[in-house]
């Protein structure tokens, strides 16, 4: 048989066979087609069914808790003594712990991840991007228990011994460029009202003034951080940093895709209007892909909310709301870690509420990630509409 006869289209590009079964097709063919389609449909819907089943069974085991103990204590008290007599199941500190760790993780992952994505898509040469992106995505392939082990064995002692100095360096590295930018912008703003002739001199004086103030503030902050005693290395800070690193590949990869999707024509249009590369990136490309970046951030946050192994090993698991609440160097406990840690011997005969409370937490987590998922879905849909796809 020749090559031409094998191909599915005739030389004009029309299909040789009708893609749909004709009315004249045999009954056997019709049945086979129907069977094929229904098998595929079942396979597709099985994952949907799995989600529904999980929701149903978790809710089924969670509701008895609220029936036994009511919802008030669970959501408003931070007294977590599941094995005491009488037991108390206040989970507020766990909700808080999940929240603060996730917030910390997004503070690490979002600026770093979005900056890296912009770099990869618009700044670095193509060859470097081809090399760097798979390496960043490798971060996602490291098992979370390996991250947890690193957090517990390497990072926690390091934080205890040199935590203050590390925070000081981090403040300079992150705060330095930010302060410089802020000083430039503020100097521009204040000197713009000055008369034409004095504008440059005014700008320089203002920059020096603002810059000096910022540098002073930064040094003061650094000194404060250096003196900060970190008693225990397994704390919210440790978990936040490691979780942030774990969420990085998601944020980088998805927002880089969003930036790429903004398209070459948009960038070329901007250049054609005389914009510089910085202006193109900041004023055209990032706004155009803002929804996609938003979706990336939400996906990264979801990764941080649901992560268990790392927070279990790195966060210290103290069921408390630290005072003050923003004290990241205090140990906290998250919902996921509590479920994983207490599942082992949660006895469903003698300590009924103790068993069901874990499902109540699981249901809350499920609800949180459901909402986040909807939000990210909405953001991506908006992104598509905006770009006219």
């Amino acid at each position: 048989m020749s090559q031409a006869e094998l191909s599915l289209t005739d030389p004009l590009g029309r299909p040789r066979q009708s893609l749909l079964l004709s009315k004249r097709a045999t009954r056997a063919k019709q049945v086979a087609s129907l069977a094929g389609r229904s098998v595929l449909f079942l396979i597709t819907s099985s994952s949907v069914l799995a989600v529904l089943f999980i929701f149903y069974y978790i809710a089924q085991d969670a509701l008895p808790f609220f029936r036994l103990r009511g919802a008030g204590e669970f959501f408003t008290s931070s007294e977590w003594y599941p094995s005491a007599e009488p037991a108390s199941f206040g989970s507020l500190s766990m909700f808080f712990g999940s929240g603060i760790v996730t917030l910390g993780a997004s503070l690490v992952a979002v600026p770093l991840g979005v900056a890296a994505a912009v770099c990869l898509s618009d700044v670095l040469p193509f060859g470097v991007r081809q090399l760097a992106k798979p390496v960043i995505e490798m971060l996602a392939a490291i098992p979370s228990v390996a991250y947890g082990f690193f957090a517990l064995v390497v990072f926690a002692p390091l934080l205890q011994e040199r935590g203050g100095a590390m925070l000081e360096v981090a403040a300079y590295v992150i705060g330095g460029p930010l302060a410089f930018l802020a000083a430039v912008v503020l100097a521009d703003l204040t000197s713009s009202r000055a008369p034409e002739k004095a504008r440059w001199a005014g700008r320089i004086v203002a920059f020096l003034l603002f810059g000096g103030a910022m540098a002073f503030g930064l040094v003061a902050l650094g000194g404060m951080l250096r003196g900060l005693p970190i008693d225990s290395g397994t704390n919210a800070l440790n978990a936040s940093i490691i979780l942030g690193i774990m969420a990085l590949p998601t944020v980088v990869s998805v927002s880089e895709d969003a930036l790429q999707a903004a398209g070459r024509d948009l960038r070329e249009g901007s250049y054609a209007l005389g914009a510089t590369r910085a202006e193109t990136i900041l004023r055209v490309v990032i706004p155009a892909s803002a929804s996609g970046i938003c979706a990336a951030v939400i996906l990264g946050v979801m990764r941080a909310v649901g992560e268990t192994m790392v927070v279990w090993m790195a966060s210290g698991n103290a069921a408390q709301i630290p005072s003050p609440w923003y004290d990241l160097t205090a140990p906290v406990r998250t919902l996921t870690a509590t479920i994983a840690g207490d599942m082992g011997e949660a006895d469903h005969v003698t300590g009924s509420a103790r068993y069901h409370v874990l499902f109540a937490m699981a249901l809350s987590l499920l609800a949180i990630s459901f909402v986040l998922n909807l939000a990210s879905e909405g953001a991506t849909r908006r992104a598509r509409r905006k770009l006219g796809h």
């Binding site: 007294e79 003594y81 205890q160 225990s232 290395g233 397994t234 630290p322 207490d342 011997e345 006895d347």
Partner: protein, 275 residues
């Protein structure tokens, strides 16, 4: 065809006879505490290597589940790091099960600190106050002016239950206490944190310092004699006393032999017989 059939029947007989014997007489199921589990496993291993055809399975599902299995008749020996509760005894009696306790070893819980910590000993009262959050600085117990990092085992471990009973007198541990999931994790946290305090089994004292409690250092003799205050017996429960001379009887008395004592000691527990 006939020869094939004969071979098949022969094979079937060969396979089925020892199988049937195993299923009824010499299969011993042990279930229960994760603390007693290592002892049970080591006993089972030693015993099976000496008695071919005896099959012992050991599960570690927790003391409570061990008791439940014994009550429901799904295991022969329940390994427990605590004594049976009244509720469990009642449930057992109502099902015709008569639990008999065998103390196979003693478990001393050491209160451990970092080797660089100058504090040498505490009283049970002081340990309790540290875990209650009433004492927050090492200064108050004769150490440096550093905040105490309180580390506890998670609330569903047997070690936690024992500590809660022996030291805390059922009072609630301070909420700023950190929780770790194993003796080994507790040891590791303390060995890397100069201001931490934790508790762990006697087998987990590498790179940490065990404190004297009420002036008594935790070691084999003080735990076995009961002078060290934070110690507990480890139990195996059977349904009635096993028939003398049976495999279960031999297994449950293994800890009284020299080999059994060596096994107990090798795992880091204290033999009940002081030889």
């Amino acid at each position: 065809m006939r020869t094939l059939l004969a071979i098949a029947i022969g094979l079937g007989l060969l396979l089925s006879v020892p199988g049937a014997a195993l299923a009824d007489d010499v299969k011993i199921v042990m279930d229960g505490s994760t603390t007693v589990g290592p002892i049970a496993k080591a006993f089972a291993e030693y015993y099976m290597s000496r008695n071919k055809g005896v099959n012992i399975t050991v599960s570690e599902s927790g003391s409570g589940n061990g008791a439940k299995s014994l009550i429901n008749g799904t295991c022969h020996i329940a390994n427990m790091s605590r004594f049976m509760k009244e509720k469990e005894f009642t449930a057992a009696a109502s099902k015709g099960v008569m639990p008999v306790a065998h103390v196979v070893a003693m478990d001393g819980i050491a209160i451990v600190v970092h080797p660089s910590n100058p504090v040498q000993g505490l009283s049970v009262e002081q340990v309790r106050n540290i875990y209650l959050g009433k004492i927050t600085s090492w200064k108050d117990v004769g150490g440096p002016d550093r905040k105490i990092v309180v580390v506890s085992r998670d609330t569903n471990s047997g070690t936690y239950e024992t500590f809660e009973g022996l030291v805390m007198a059922k009072q609630r541990i301070v909420s700023s206490a950190e929780y770790v999931t194993s003796n080994e994790a507790a040891r590791k946290r303390v060995s890397s944190t100069p201001t931490a305090i934790a508790y762990a089994g006697l087998g987990f004292l590498r790179d940490v310092k065990a404190l004297k409690i009420n002036g008594v250092i935790p070691d084999r003799s003080t735990v076995a004699s009961g002078r060290y205050p934070v110690a507990r017996p480890l139990f195996m429960f059977t349904n009635g006393y096993p028939k003398l001379g049976s495999y279960t009887h031999a297994l449950i008395t293994l800890h009284l032999t020299k080999k059994g004592q060596e096994i107990v000691e090798a795992i880091g527990f204290v033999p009940v017989t002081s030889y």
